[in-house]
Assembly symmetry: C5
Homo-oligomer: 310 residues x 5
Amino acid sequence: MVMTDDVRRILGHYDGDTPGTRSNLARLLMAGRLGGSGKLLILPVDQGFEHGPARSFAINPDAYDPHYHFRLAIDAGLSAFAAPLGLLEAGAARFAGEIPLILKLNSANSLARERHAATQAVTASVDDALRLGCAAIGFTIYPGSDAAMPMFEQLARLAHEAKAKGLAVVVWSYPRGGALSAAGETAIDVVAYGAHIACLLGAHIVKVKLPSEHIEQDEARQAYVEARIDIGSLAKRVAHVVQSCFNGRRIVIFSGGAAKQDPALLYDEVRAIRDGGGSGSIIGRNSFRRPRPQALEMLDTIVAILLGKI
Amino acid sequence: MVMTDDVRRILGHYDGDTPGTRSNLARLLMAGRLGGSGKLLILPVDQGFEHGPARSFAINPDAYDPHYHFRLAIDAGLSAFAAPLGLLEAGAARFAGEIPLILKLNSANSLARERHAATQAVTASVDDALRLGCAAIGFTIYPGSDAAMPMFEQLARLAHEAKAKGLAVVVWSYPRGGALSAAGETAIDVVAYGAHIACLLGAHIVKVKLPSEHIEQDEARQAYVEARIDIGSLAKRVAHVVQSCFNGRRIVIFSGGAAKQDPALLYDEVRAIRDGGGSGSIIGRNSFRRPRPQALEMLDTIVAILLGKI
Amino acid sequence: MVMTDDVRRILGHYDGDTPGTRSNLARLLMAGRLGGSGKLLILPVDQGFEHGPARSFAINPDAYDPHYHFRLAIDAGLSAFAAPLGLLEAGAARFAGEIPLILKLNSANSLARERHAATQAVTASVDDALRLGCAAIGFTIYPGSDAAMPMFEQLARLAHEAKAKGLAVVVWSYPRGGALSAAGETAIDVVAYGAHIACLLGAHIVKVKLPSEHIEQDEARQAYVEARIDIGSLAKRVAHVVQSCFNGRRIVIFSGGAAKQDPALLYDEVRAIRDGGGSGSIIGRNSFRRPRPQALEMLDTIVAILLGKI
Amino acid sequence: MVMTDDVRRILGHYDGDTPGTRSNLARLLMAGRLGGSGKLLILPVDQGFEHGPARSFAINPDAYDPHYHFRLAIDAGLSAFAAPLGLLEAGAARFAGEIPLILKLNSANSLARERHAATQAVTASVDDALRLGCAAIGFTIYPGSDAAMPMFEQLARLAHEAKAKGLAVVVWSYPRGGALSAAGETAIDVVAYGAHIACLLGAHIVKVKLPSEHIEQDEARQAYVEARIDIGSLAKRVAHVVQSCFNGRRIVIFSGGAAKQDPALLYDEVRAIRDGGGSGSIIGRNSFRRPRPQALEMLDTIVAILLGKI
Amino acid sequence: MVMTDDVRRILGHYDGDTPGTRSNLARLLMAGRLGGSGKLLILPVDQGFEHGPARSFAINPDAYDPHYHFRLAIDAGLSAFAAPLGLLEAGAARFAGEIPLILKLNSANSLARERHAATQAVTASVDDALRLGCAAIGFTIYPGSDAAMPMFEQLARLAHEAKAKGLAVVVWSYPRGGALSAAGETAIDVVAYGAHIACLLGAHIVKVKLPSEHIEQDEARQAYVEARIDIGSLAKRVAHVVQSCFNGRRIVIFSGGAAKQDPALLYDEVRAIRDGGGSGSIIGRNSFRRPRPQALEMLDTIVAILLGKI
């Protein structure tokens, strides 16, 4: 594995971390077809936990099988595969070493009553990640929610342990709940704030939703107006989020949003991520809810976009 | 103990587990008259905790004695005997090595006021299971209930410890409470979702109730209709649950439901489990609330059904 | 200490326990004037915690002194002395080895407001019991109360530790609170259920109140009627509770109830305990609230009854 | 340090404790001008935590300096100095070995809203006490309050640790809150009950407020009437509290009550403590809120009273 | 590093601490242009956590980059740089040894709903501080708030650990919430009380807001009047706070208050801090929200004021 200058530059931002953690960040950045480019494309499969198996997999029944997702991620040449404990346990031995794994340590579900769905259950441990040969742990926080404080504290403990054991830390930062409006959950000020909090909590890689033009907090609006921050295009908003992540010293990736019929819409988003300086995408249901040939074609196109070829 | 190909194939699904855990799964799969067939038939006795001793045993007073249950399970050639701490302590030494044991780590009771009965007390530990020579721990979760999150987290911690100590993990997944209707607790979408969650939480063996044709969640109904999932027969529904458990990569067994006068009803259910690809049954009160000769005869018939002989 | 066949048979019921724990059970069963008979008579002094010193001891001021109780239990030839931490600390060295001790690990008090009195505080540890040379720990649970779940979990942890350290576990099982009526607290179905739960939680010795003829739970009533359980005399009810404790595989002892002027009433109860197959009595305020000579005479009579001499 | 018979007799009451703890009790009983008499006079300075610095020290500004209190206690020949963590840290090195120290492990404050003031924060640890060379830990409980149960459990854990590490345990037992009336907090039955609970929780030294003639609990009143307990004088009430502390087997000391202009009132109280068999006094604001010469004179008089000289 | 007499005198106040902790206090007191003077000037950057990145940095976009703050603090010759985990991780390796670091262990945020904002999340550990080469931990308490008790207990545990590991402890004491009025949060009695509590909790360095003339608590007002405490000027109020911190035996520093256009207002405050005997200032947004040249000039002036040159 010959390290590229792009990756070496990025790893330089993590000079406070141990060689173990930096090696695992390097594994993620050097894997798959984007390896060495400094870009990341990740397959996450936790939708079965969040929405149940039928809503996730019935449309493409092969996807009931954990091996399907491992193979899809490997064959598409992705950077990593992220999933909850049981799903990784079902394939980590068979596909050992073929793709970097991220163990998602907490999960939500939609069987729970609304007010109990305001948080996530911690369903696995850092030692589980080591046992399964993972490169990183994944953890979701809900900034703004009434459960945010305990979630931050859980993350702080788990991230500390992960770093001490040489793993990387990927944080899904999804503001929601509390005083936030529905539109506020993807407002540019809120997404940027949530991304910044993830960085302050010690995330190596931050995962957020693509931000809208909406500004949620009055105090923030004033700052956006006074400083004349340009949020008029998706690429500009991506750039603002990247700036909010220690001015680009932390890797930020963006989710593909709702399931989409037309992949062209997705390609436009990925171009905006690339043009705004984002580090890549994380694409779940848009991958595994399509037939495998279409999914592979779509992922192939996204790789090409991230590499700046199209 | 000459391993059969059926069991070897099933153990292959657990290639991410330690030799210790796989040995204990093998113990369960190679024990009794179903040994080697890949099927399981388990006797659980926790009804005394849930409903009290008189409602459980007065009808067949011999069953007040823990040894009665050990002997019944052994003489019927079952795969395992599952019970709470005290009950196993009372016979584990006397019957050491005669049948695999599953220590049930949490229990509910019906003395508690309704709202306090929404969860279960953790009444034993993984180390208790080791001390008593058990092959597995058993743990109940209530997906959908207001206590689901802490129950998932308890299971995550106990399952991690059990695996590290070479035990297998059996999860009773009983959706209930919260926003679920009474009918929803056995709705096909809810049972499949609950089984899937158990798999994601790292269960080796999942135990659910037999699902009805009812669909509880509106979002799920759409998926069932669109994907034309056939849930018109019990066997089809069993097959759907098996599919929801990592497409058959995890063992799923089904409970015998309410106490039944006529064993023929039970036999029909077991045939549906077998025909749908389920891995077997767990039959408590339908066993120990009958006189021993009748119970042995009934269990003998069920073994024959599971073996495909009748 | 020459072991009797009666005690050997009882110890046989605990064959799943370590030699350490069985030795301590043997200490209890071989101590005092009932030593070797398989019967137990225990002096508990936690009334000062529950009702305060004046209500407990002012009637017999010598009883303010912890040594008074040690001497009373020793001179009466009892099986054990049970008390909270401080009281044992005040005499355990002076009377070391003269009588088996049971450290009561949790306690209630009547200064607390009603709703806070629904549980007990854990005021000592298993290591305290070892330090003081005790043979057993004692722990109270309130099945049915809103605090029952955490109490069961506390007991599970403490009992596990006690067994690992070679001590015996005595559980005071007092159903109360929650949905139970006042009469329900001593209803035959509830007392039997509470005793059964204590056994399932791993108690070696269960202590309950004497049950009344009342049946509290409707579902249970049906079982009593259908199975024609005879609860028409106190001795029959004692026998039913003994049966509910693993058909006699666990030791059950009964409390003496409210303070009584006339000891004859107490003697009748003890005869019923004996005739129903109960293992003995635990008598607190009926002992130490009488002048010492009368208390010794009363305890002497009870010993004779338990030995079947009168 | 030549041990006196009085102290040897008192230490005999603690024969269940380790040599380490007994040595520290001896340090307290042999220190200062009361050394060897079996009496104790302690300076506590936690008023700054409870009422703030201005209300505590502005009247005598020298008292803002922690060294002032160390010097006052040493120069007055007191038995010990008790204070929270920071205050001891500021002088423990400078005055090492000059006077026994008691580290107060929990504290209340009057900035908190009423209902949050129902408990105290645990602000230091047993290891802090060891690090600072203390002879004992101090801990306040509020029997009767809604926070009493967790306070008892905290004390149980800390006392266990302190004893295992050779320290003595001093418990401030202040009934309050819950169902108690304001007058009830110093009612004779309540003070005696609170003192008894402290003993049962394993305190070596109990500190209570001087009791009034009021009886708070109806059930208790009956016991006082029936047993004709004499509570007609302060000395009699002190004697009753001493009796409630294991009939004198535990050291009980009394607080000086509200700030007093006229020291003569204080002297009368101390005489009652002495005549009732109390082991001494703990006097805070009555000491440090007077000018140093007056404080020394007052403490000198109290020592003389406790020694029976005046 | 030749120690000055001023610093040696201050370190003398910490004679109860380990050589490790005293070395780290010395690092803080000997660093930068104030090194050796006994004064401190600290740059804290946690505003991004509290108010989000746009409100904090958009006005001076260079400040999005963590390295900007490290360089500003180093180039201005400050005593220390304080920030949350992620921000320090992003520069601690690059700037290792160039300036003492303080790891802020807890943080608030303004995305949370009001009632959830009454506390702070603990987002890092003492071991994180060691790993990053910090000289001290920082921790915020809210005396008076409904969350004060658990915050005090968290601080107690973390401070104990920090001291055991040779670090210094800096406490931000910000009374707020509970029964306090808005004006009360900076009332002289409340600020002095909050500072005193921080000292009692074992802080080495206390950080408070500049107090107003307002007196919040009626009981306190009486003490201020009776003792004729002069709070008529800011310098006098600073002196009163210093007195409340163990009569100057603990270092107290003051925050710069709200963002100010005119630095002259800030200079007046710093002069009052100096004249009142305060140990220095902590200035965040007033530093990094100005362009770097102006910030450097302002900090240069403040240093000169603290050194008594202007």
